[in-house]
């Protein structure tokens, strides 16, 4: 269009003879060299991530425990790190606890991602349909939740679900859902994970709901109106008109949610008072405990790398989709 514009406006082009001017941003991208533009970001990421990442890979192929740590500061004491090839990885594959933990993590991620997206989207749709003051309050509340430091939020949740003084137990009992006074939510793992899920989803909803609401406001009114005139039910309008338009943003939100939920660590760790029992292990916690409690840094690193590879594998589809989105535009 611009090219056509230039040609159809001879008077303006004549006023500026010589080489055709290109927009600044485009010029920067083409002539300044895109490599120059991405360089600073690569430097920052490289400086901080490269060595730790390299170290992580090295450790995964070593036997590295307390003697090796001692050896680092006192070369005569302890033992030097020993290369063990894929031993740490094969240890993981023969470790029933690893498979249990992995299965738990996959289920946990699926439940949390599903719940976050469904509830977040539902809230976003709801925000389109409530009176303006209520919408404003909803937005404000979402922002409050988002702005709350994770540490504080988790401490509060721990308190609300407390066995003795927990408000949740009090309210559930008062509402006649059963006898919940002195109920311990962590005695049964599935109940414990219900609490964790509740807390994770609560914390993740603001980002999803605010983003989805913003996306919904960009769905052209005419399309929705046309579908409605043609007799589509609200559900059909959502499925057949809105969903296709929202798909790119949904893909991004889903992939981000998977990445975040597969790595959930702090929530379980703090809700379990910094001492999670083995049946509350997710892969991140398993790897952390293996490294820093059992001091088997080699095995812990191997577990981290397996986590990383699984996530990369799961997200290949999303990464491809993201690259495709970026190429369509």
């Amino acid at each position: 269009m611009a090219a056509a514009g230039t040609e159809t406006l001879p008077s303006t082009s004549q006023r500026r003879p010589g080489r055709r001017r290109q927009p600044l941003v485009t010029r920067l991208a083409k002539h300044g060299g895109p490599y120059l533009l991405i360089l600073p970001s690569l430097v920052v990421i490289g400086v901080i991530m490269a060595w730790p990442l390299y170290k992580l890979f090295v450790l995964a192929f070593q036997k590295f425990g307390l003697p090796q740590i001692l050896n680092m500061s006192h070369p005569k004491a302890g033992k030097a790190p020993e290369w063990v090839g894929f031993h740490n990885f094969s240890e993981a594959f023969h470790d029933p606890q690893f498979w249990d933990t992995l299965q738990r993590t996959v289920i946990f991620t699926a439940v949390n991602v599903g719940a976050t997206l469904v509830i977040g989207t539902a809230i976003a749709v709801l925000m389109m349909r409530v009176a303006k003051p209520i919408r404003l309050i909803m937005t404000a509340v979402l922002i409050f939740v988002w702005a709350m430091p994770q540490l504080v939020a988790l401490t509060i949740w721990n308190w609300l679900f407390d066995q003795e003084f927990g408000v949740v137990n009090y309210v559930l009992t008062k509402l006649h859902f059963g006898h919940f006074l002195h109920h311990s939510w962590y005695a049964e793992p599935w109940q414990g994970f219900m609490v964790v899920t509740f807390v994770v989803v609560w914390g993740a909803i603001p980002f999803i709901a605010i983003t989805m609401h913003a996306a919904l406001t960009q769905v052209p009114e005419e399309l929705v109106e046309a579908a409605r005139v043609d007799g589509a039910s609200p559900l059909q309008v959502f499925r057949n008109v809105m969903l296709p338009i929202l798909r790119p943003i949904l893909v991004i939100l889903t992939s981000l949610s998977i990445i975040w939920d597969f790595q959930v660590f702090t929530q379980v760790y703090i809700l379990r008072d910094n001492r999670p029992e083995p049946w509350y292990y997710l892969v991140s916690i398993f790897s952390f405990v293996t490294s820093f409690k059992a001091h088997d840094y080699g095995y812990g690193s191997a577990l981290s790398i397996i986590t990383l590879l699984i996530m990369a594998f799961v997200s290949i589809f999303y990464i491809r989709q993201l690259i495709k989105i970026s190429e369509d535009q």
């Binding site: 082009s13 600044l24 991530m49 303006k132 702005a147």
Partner: protein, 298 residues
């Protein structure tokens, strides 16, 4: 093509205020929707309310079998003691420095990268995108110790610079990706058109492209701001000197092995949340359109 996209942009800007966008039937919405909306507000806000209410409660009203729902009679004592607690002002200053540096530098760096990814098809572009997305998948807990060792070797432990650069590395990928969407949504033709109409190159950029990217820059900055302001784990590991604490590490000092100072913790948290909430409220309009502009085409 360009016209459609421009209209989409404009719509995005207006629709946050307009009541008609996106299929809202009536001005006040349905009764059921409003009731559910209020219910969700109550459920979502309760922990936040509980934190703020606790910050005003007297010590004897806090841990009760029958909860005290309202902080009456209240006290401001926790705010006074939180304000007077050691290292409050220094940690606030440290946080302010780190957050400003992180936000300004990340956004600038991310903007350059986003321009490259959005506007040119260079060799290695896909690899770069894969790095940007892949970097977010690395379990952070696994990197903490080697990172700590590395920063110590470089004498960057307990240094604001070391922490700031760490935050940038964590935040950059998201910023690049979000900004890419904004820039991709602005047709290059617009700038060309402005230049045909007599703008200089810089003028065209400042008058046409920049205002259109501005919501994106604001939305991304807010995200970076919240991340850096609330981040705890890296700060806790890297900033171990008391006078180098950031605000979130300072908050954690209310929680000790022996006990939790509920009133102080909640008063401190409330004070620290205020800047974020005010900032967010001020730019909420941009954030709403901002976060999605890249993904949903107008």
């Amino acid at each position: 093509m360009s016209a459609i996209t421009v209209r989409g942009q404009r719509r995005a800007g207006n629709s946050v205020r307009s009541k008609k966008a996106g299929g809202v039937k009536s001005k006040h919405g349905g009764l059921v929707a409003n009731v559910i909306g209020i219910l969700i507000i109550v459920l979502m806000v309760f922990p936040v309310y509980w934190a703020v209410a606790t910050s005003f409660k007297r010590g004897i009203d806090m841990n009760k079998i029958t909860p005290e729902w309202f902080p009456v009679p209240g006290t401001l004592q926790h705010y006074v003691s939180a304000w007077k607690k050691e290292f409050f002002l220094s940690s606030l200053k440290n946080s302010a420095i780190v957050v400003s540096v992180v936000v300004v530098v990340s956004i600038a760096v991310a903007f350059f990268a986003a321009v490259a990814v959005a506007r040119s098809r260079f060799r290695g572009r896909r690899a770069y995108i894969a790095i940007i997305i892949g970097i977010q998948m690395i379990p952070q807990t696994a990197l903490i110790i080697p990172l700590f060792v590395m920063l110590s070797n470089w004498h960057q432990q307990n240094q604001l610079l070391g922490l700031s650069v760490t935050y940038m590395a964590v935040i950059l990928p998201f910023c690049v990706w979000t900004l890419r969407g904004f820039i991709a949504n602005i047709p290059p033709d617009l700038e060309a058109a402005a230049m045909i109409d007599g703008c200089t190159r810089t003028g065209a950029f400042m008058r046409v492209t920049f205002p259109l990217v501005a919501p994106g820059l604001i939305a991304t900055s807010i995200f970076a701001f919240i991340q850096a302001w609330n981040e705890f784990v890296f700060a806790y590991i890297i900033m171990q000197n008391n006078n180098k604490w950031t605000a979130s590490v300072w908050l954690a000092s209310f929680i000790t092995q022996q006990q939790i100072d509920w009133g102080g913790l909640m008063a401190g948290a409330t004070m620290l949340a205020i800047p974020i909430v005010i900032l967010f409220m001020m730019v909420q309009r941009f954030v709403a359109t901002g976060l999605t502009a890249g993904a949903v085409k107008g």
